[in-house]
Amino acid sequence: MKDLIADIERWQAAGQRVALARVVAVVGAGPRDPGAAMAINEASEVVGSVSGGCVEGAVVAEALGVIESGEPRLCTFGYSDDEVFAVGLTCGGTIRIFIEPVD
């Protein structure tokens, strides 16, 4: 999060709308601890990360939705094996990510 602040402020100063995504819970094996954070602007620029690269793509899509609606949301990502095309973690854990607008 510390590393994201300068980018978030720079985007805001340039008039970009921004969303912040944070890991708020990890069940089982998870790549990052609660507090891991990623910021996304409306041009789909990204800083930080919330997993080992497994769910970042899906988080960007959700974050753009949050920027558009202005409504925060809580997303859950789990093990991906049972649904071949679903986004998930290969490590077998479940992570919950809270995404909110920063405005």
Partner: protein, 275 residues
């Protein structure tokens, strides 16, 4: 979140420990109770310097969450907790994520040598606030250690006295001087602080002599075991950069209680001949 985010950014920049509590989930129905639930995304900020800012929408909930945030600040762990709408601990109307932003851990390196320059770089990658301290002013210069947050010309024990109160189990002291004149006061002073890691560079022979001198200086045998010397994991490190990785890996392993082989617990030469 705007005003709270600005305050949060300021606290983080000032290295003031701060916790941000955010409502991340709420039930749709409150079973027969006439209460208002806080809004999703409502925030409450708690810091030592600025106190409590913002609100989750209910005085009692704010008070309970502010208390839990203070607890999270001392544990250093970000955590999600469930509460009733008025802060009741056994209910689950709302989930609040308490995100803790602790200032960076500190690494204090005694001895301004080549190994120090490499260790400063690796420690910075890991997010440490790094101080280099050496009594010899021609070596302890900002120019030689541009990545260090502080370069102090002074005696190790005198410097440690000025920061001892701020040191905790997250912090590390690395003694790289391998000169007993500086090593002994540095180690004796470091043992009186709460640092979680204390390592000292030098060969096994150097350390035997060091142990003798530390004992003469009044250090109890049990305390000698707290010193990681020779410093670093037994990964066959050779160059200053590899040695820096071995030292930082040892710090991580000790913090995590991981069972890996330290040079201290090994025997034989530190520098192995490649076959």
């Amino acid at each position: 979140m705007d005003e709270i985010f600005t305050t949060l950014a300021q606290c983080i920049r000032d290295e003031d420990p701060v916790a941000l509590a955010t409502v991340i989930e709420r039930t749709d129905v409150v079973r027969g109770r006439n209460t208002l639930l806080p809004q999703l995304g409502a925030t409450l900020l708690v810091s030592q310097a600025v106190g409590v800012r913002g609100s989750l929408g209910h005085d009692k909930l704010d008070a309970v969450v502010a208390g839990d945030a203070t607890g999270a600040l001392s544990s250093g762990q970000s955590v999600a907790r469930h509460y009733g709408s008025a802060g009741e601990s056994r209910l689950n109307d709302v989930t609040v994520f308490i995100d803790v932003f602790a200032p960076p851990p500190r690494m204090i390196i005694f001895g301004a040598v080549d190994f120090t320059a490499a260790l400063v770089k690796v420690a910075k990658v890991l997010g440490y606030h790094v101080t280099v301290c050496d009594a010899r002013e021609i070596f302890a210069t900002k120019k030689r250690f541009p990545e260090a947050d502080e370069v102090i010309v002074g005696w190790p024990d005198a410097y440690l006295m000025t920061v001892a109160g701020r040191l905790s189990a997250r912090d590390a002291v690395c003694v790289l001087t391998h000169d007993h004149k500086f090593d002994i006061p540095a180690i004796v002073a470091a043992l009186s602080t709460k640092v979680g890691y204390l390592g000292a560079m030098g060969s096994r022979t150097t350390h035997l002599e060091r142990v003798k001198r530390l004992t003469e200086a009044g250090v109890a045998p049990a305390r000698l075991n707290e010193i990681m010397a020779p410093i670093g994991l037994a990964i066959g490190a050779r160059t200053p950069e590899e040695t820096a990785v071995a030292i930082c890996a040892e710090i991580i392993a000790r913090r995590a209680n991981a069972e890996v082989r330290s040079l201290r617990d090994d025997t034989g030469p530190i520098h192995r001949v490649a076959s």
